[in-house]
């Protein structure tokens, strides 16, 4: 079993000009590990992080988009797997941190800890699907995971975190969103 912040530290070594979409606990950990202008921390509707990511990927096919979603979030928008697989954006990487809890809502369990998200993504038709429970293996493969043609899906099996501080006003600051938009639209 891995820890989310450890996974994100490994991931951050390989992130350059990608948009990284994250919400709730994933956003707290990601922004702590990699504060950067191209972080897109979506607000207001749990589960739609993957849909925001699809829009970003469609709008900038020349750039890559990495979605960092929790298992509770994905469960609230499971249909996104089918939509994303059908649209098939080559530049979208969808990572789901599975700790089997609604962590941001008090740590209550998701309806079933047995759900196989990678299996669901595979059945939906993602181009490549991974399932990681070992940090060494993730470290070894992460570069390939985020660089290959997508849509790519990976489950990260993680422990529940220690209590996090959710500073939503900072996380969802409109100024940060504006800065993201300017940076994301900039052409190389």
């Amino acid at each position: 079993m891995m820890k989310r912040d450890e996974c994100f530290r490994v991931l951050a070594r390989h992130i350059t000009d990608e948009a990284v979409v994250a919400t709730y606990s994933s956003a707290v950990d990601w922004v702590g590990v990699a504060p950067r202008v191209l972080n897109y921390t979506s607000i207001g509707a749990m589960g739609l992080d993957s849909s925001h990511g699809l829009g970003l990927a469609l709008g900038r096919p020349d750039k890559r988009v990495v979605v960092l979603q929790g298992d509770g979030s994905l469960l609230m928008n499971l249909g996104c797997l089918v939509t994303i697989a059908a649209v098939a954006p080559k530049n979208l990487v969808h990572l789901v941190a599975q700790n089997e809890t609604y962590e941001a809502n008090g740590g209550h369990p998701i309806p079933s800890p047995k759900v196989d998200f990678a299996g669901l993504a595979r059945a939906a038709g993602y181009a490549a699907v991974y399932d990681f429970a070992d940090l060494d293996v993730f470290t070894q493969q992460v570069a390939h995971v985020i660089e290959q043609d997508g849509p790519v899906f990976a489950t990260l099996h993680i422990e529940p975190s220690k209590p996090l501080t959710y500073d939503y006003p900072s996380l969802y600051d409109p100024a940060k969103r504006k800065a993201f938009k300017a940076a994301w639209q900039a052409r190389d």
Partner: protein, 178 residues
Amino acid sequence: MEAPAANRVTSSATLDGGRIIAAIKASGIEYVLSVPDIVTSSGLLRPIADDRDLRLIRVCKEDECIGIASGLSHCDKRALILIQHTGFLDSINAIRGIAVEYKQPICMMVGLLQHEPERAPRDSSRYGVRIMEPILDDIGIAHHLVSVDADVAKIQPAIEKAYGASEPVAFLIGRSPA
């Protein structure tokens, strides 16, 4: 916001889907995000699916559209969400959070299922239709009834305003476009 029903619709009134699609294109819309709606199925969704100038993204559930449109707007790409009013009601938290509180240019074209075109939506015998305009008013989303051909002229200016001011807008489709 709208003219009284008695002034605006007659039994011989029509709504041309081709004119609506032309207005959508003239508004710079590139993407149509949709869950099928029986009101707009034949007159809008089917021709849009065959239209090479528009990219149709079929989603599983209407709230996905809100996230996708927000992502696209961050790329300066314009999208129109084509759904049924039941899907609008199901997506209300996404609309509240992303469209209203986040002030995103979310443009929605909403078919009023089982609405009687000769009536104003607020006077509909269908509860779900009757509450649409009051809900939009309460959450502060500009809305326009598109029920006769003359209403089509509202579409382009409203979409331009939505993207110019980064704010949502809703078009309520009051009869099945032909």
